[in-house]
């Protein structure tokens, strides 16, 4: 029997056993819930609660301010008005976000102007417009007329990183616990009487990876469908390539992290030791995640983000993020993917030996060095 068939049998067992498990079902439901909540909760919260601050330059007729309060109440919106000395101050406060909108009433009685930073709360605009006696006697102006896809790109980048992190780490952890379970239940000795240790690890990574891919596709599918149907965004033309990148980087990131976690799992003898054994990798993953969301998202073309694109544990999150924001050169992407593939291979060679040396040893935590030596004997 070929090694390939042995790997396939291991992968199929993982796929069937775990795919039918409640844990997988819960994982899919939970992750879809997170995505849908992430798409709609901010909109719901922003639309219904929190006072909207409206700055007024010049003096608005009393009828307008009274009417504003009344209409706002009807629209279930709280509007706080405050006088602003001049247009420059108002625009500055729009930019720093301390005002939602600015109403400029010229003293000469010409048409008032409604100014926002970029197209945002349509409801507030309607409330303001309708508080004038004969609408639409109001001009509209945007300070930063946005690229219509900019918000969507930002959303995709943001959600993409979260999706990747959830997927890579959830299923990487399954590999970890799978390895420890096999050790703890001692079944590994029976299994390894016919299978090479590396083949067992590869099969496990593959089988669980297919489940991860399934969950990712479900999450993305539901998220995009709900986002479009719910009017949250429309699909930009770059959606196809972006999804392709998401899948590619899930595969690369998952292969890297799950192999590392599987190897560390072999160093533990019982489930209680597993999280301890895996903490270095968890730590790196969390670091990569926060780096992507905080540093790289704010400055996707900056030096930090560019350098991080070539650091294998970070690149699976940073590269798709930069790609979604259109802030990466094609050559960077290709090189980064190659570097990550090389890292996976190196990890597999080194980690595979550690795994082989450690997976049959029991009794407390096994030291990395001992596992390496045991395999060489």
């Amino acid at each position: 029997m070929s090694r390939r068939r042995a790997i396939w049998l291991v992968a199929r067992r993982e796929l069937l056993e775990r795919g039918r498990s409640r844990a997988f079902l819960f994982s899919v439901i939970l992750s879809v819930g997170i995505i849908v909540a992430g798409l709609f909760l901010p909109g719901l919260i922003g639309g219904s609660s929190g006072a909207q601050r409206l700055g007024i330059v010049g003096s608005a007729p009393a009828s307008v301010t009274d009417g504003l309060t009344a209409t706002a109440k009807l629209a279930n919106l709280t509007v706080q008005t405050e006088p602003v000395p001049d247009l420059a101050t108002g625009e500055a406060r729009l930019k720093d976000g301390s005002l939602a909108a600015l109403l400029v009433v010229p003293p000469d009685g010409s048409l008032p102007t409604y100014v926002v930073k970029s197209r945002g709360n349509e409801l507030l605009q309607q409330v303001v417009a309708s508080s004038f006696s004969t609408p639409p006697q109001i001009q509209f102006r945007e300070l930063e007329p946005a690229d219509p896809n900019r918000d969507t790109s930002f959303l995709f980048a943001n959600v993409g990183v979260i999706l990747l992190f959830i997927s890579i780490f959830t299923f990487g952890t399954w590999v970890l616990t799978g390895v420890v379970e096999e050790k703890q239940s001692r079944v590994v000795e029976v299994v390894l009487s016919t299978i090479e240790p590396r083949d067992l690890l590869v099969g496990k990574v593959l089988g669980i990876g297919v489940l991860g891919l399934v969950q990712l596709v479900v999450m993305v599918g539901v998220g995009l469908t709900a986002g479009v149907l719910g009017g949250r965004f429309s699909l930009p033309p770059t959606t196809g390539p972006a999804l392709g990148l998401l899948v590619l980087w899930f595969i690369l990131g998952y292969a890297l992290y799950s192999t590392a976690l599987g190897v560390l799992g072999a160093l533990a003898s019982r489930m209680e030791e597993a999280s301890n054994a895996s903490s270095p990798v968890s730590f790196i993953a969390m670091g990569a995640y926060f780096f992507s969301l905080i540093v790289a998202l704010n400055d996707p073309g900056g030096t930090a983000a560019r350098v991080a694109s070539f650091i294998p544990p970070v690149s699976p999150m940073v590269v798709p993020l930069r790609a979604a924001l259109g802030a990466i050169e094609p050559w960077e992407m290709v090189l980064s993917a190659l570097v990550t593939v090389a890292a996976i291979w190196a990890l597999f060679v080194v980690g595979g030996r550690v795994y082989s040396g450690a997976v049959l040893q029991t009794g407390g935590r096994i030291r990395l060095r001992d596992a390496w030596r045991a395999s060489g004997q």
Binding site: L9, R13, E17, S185, R186, V187, E189, V190, V191, T194
Partner: protein, 295 residues
């Protein structure tokens, strides 16, 4: 035929195996005996490539054992273990396929072995839902489901109740009769003596004795002599320093003597003390042999 030749293995400063050599022939049931820590489990792990010997070889049918050969072996490790949440039928079928059976053949073999083990009605149960005894049966099933040519079992009788022991003995006998080479370790020497023709006794990493039990007993330089002389209170022994007394109870004495002891002389001495009711000259039992060679 399984040939283990000069197998040596150290773990750090601990010598697990120190030149162990023995063979297991097809159709024979070999008891692999030895005190704890003598190297039984390490030897078995070397057969399956789970431990790599520092020196020595393991051959099957004249060739070094590779992955292909191992597919025709069955193994029951000392530390029992299967997938707790996997269904019994799927589990056996999985192991059968990992030993090279097609999906269809694996399914058929699973059904056949579950029937043989009396577990047909548990085919769809998760392993963890089974009683301890039944889990042991499934474990045996996992070693047997692909009809191996060599069966290696580490302490298959430990933890079994008398009924389980009888079932296990029956299956091992039946497999050996079908031409399978069977080797198993055990501390239950009476059971081994009853079940096996051959034994290999390992002590401190070396084979201290190997071969058929009858030959080993006959080859022993010592014999057990039981003498009962009515009304003698065994006083005829007094003053004889050339005899090792194992037990002395009333008229009965049990002696350990050399195999070439002067039997007519002994009998004459006993007869002189009174009427001889019992005079039994026997080779050592397996347990006695075991104690002799491992000390």
């Amino acid at each position: 035929m399984l040939e283990i030749q000069d197998l040596s293995k150290r773990y750090g400063n601990v010598v697990a195996l120190d030149g162990a050599t023995f063979t297991v022939r097809p159709g024979r049931l070999v008891g692999f005996l030895g005190p704890n820590g003598a190297g039984k489990t390490t030897t078995m792990r070397c057969i399956f490539g789970l431990a790599r010997p520092d020196r020595g070889t393991v051959h099957w049918n004249g060739k070094p054992i590779d992955r292909e050969a191992r597919l025709r072996f069955g193994y029951m490790p000392e530390q029992r273990g299967l997938y707790p949440r996997m269904k019994v039928g799927e589990q056996l079928s999985y192991f059968a396929q990992q030993h090279g059976l097609s999906a269809g053949a694996a399914k058929a073999a699973t059904a056949r072995w579950l029937e043989g083990l009396g577990l047909t009605d548990r085919i769809g149960s998760k392993l963890e839902a089974l009683s301890h005894g039944n889990q042991q049966r499934v474990q045996l099933g996992a070693a047997l489901v692909h009809d191996p040519e060599l069966l290696v079992l580490d302490e298959p009788f430990s933890g079994l109740d008398p009924l389980g022991i009888a079932t296990m003995s029956g299956i091992l006998r039946e497999r050996a009769a079908a031409g399978v080479a069977v080797v198993f370790s055990s501390h239950q020497l009476d059971l081994v003596e009853d079940l096996c023709e051959d034994v290999a006794i390992i002590s401190r990493g070396r084979i201290a004795a190997a071969g058929s039990i009858d030959d080993l007993r006959a080859a022993s330089s010592r014999r057990h002599l039981e003498v009962e002389v009515e009304g003698s209170n065994a006083e005829w022994l007094d003053g004889r320093s050339d005899l090792t007394v194992v037990e002395r109870r009333g008229d009965l004495v049990k002696l350990l003597v050399a195999s070439d002891v002067d039997l007519p002389g002994m009998l004459a001495a006993a007869s002189a003390a009174g009427p001889v009711r019992r005079f039994a000259f026997q080779p050592p039992t397996l347990s006695e042999l075991f104690m002799e060679v491992v000390q």
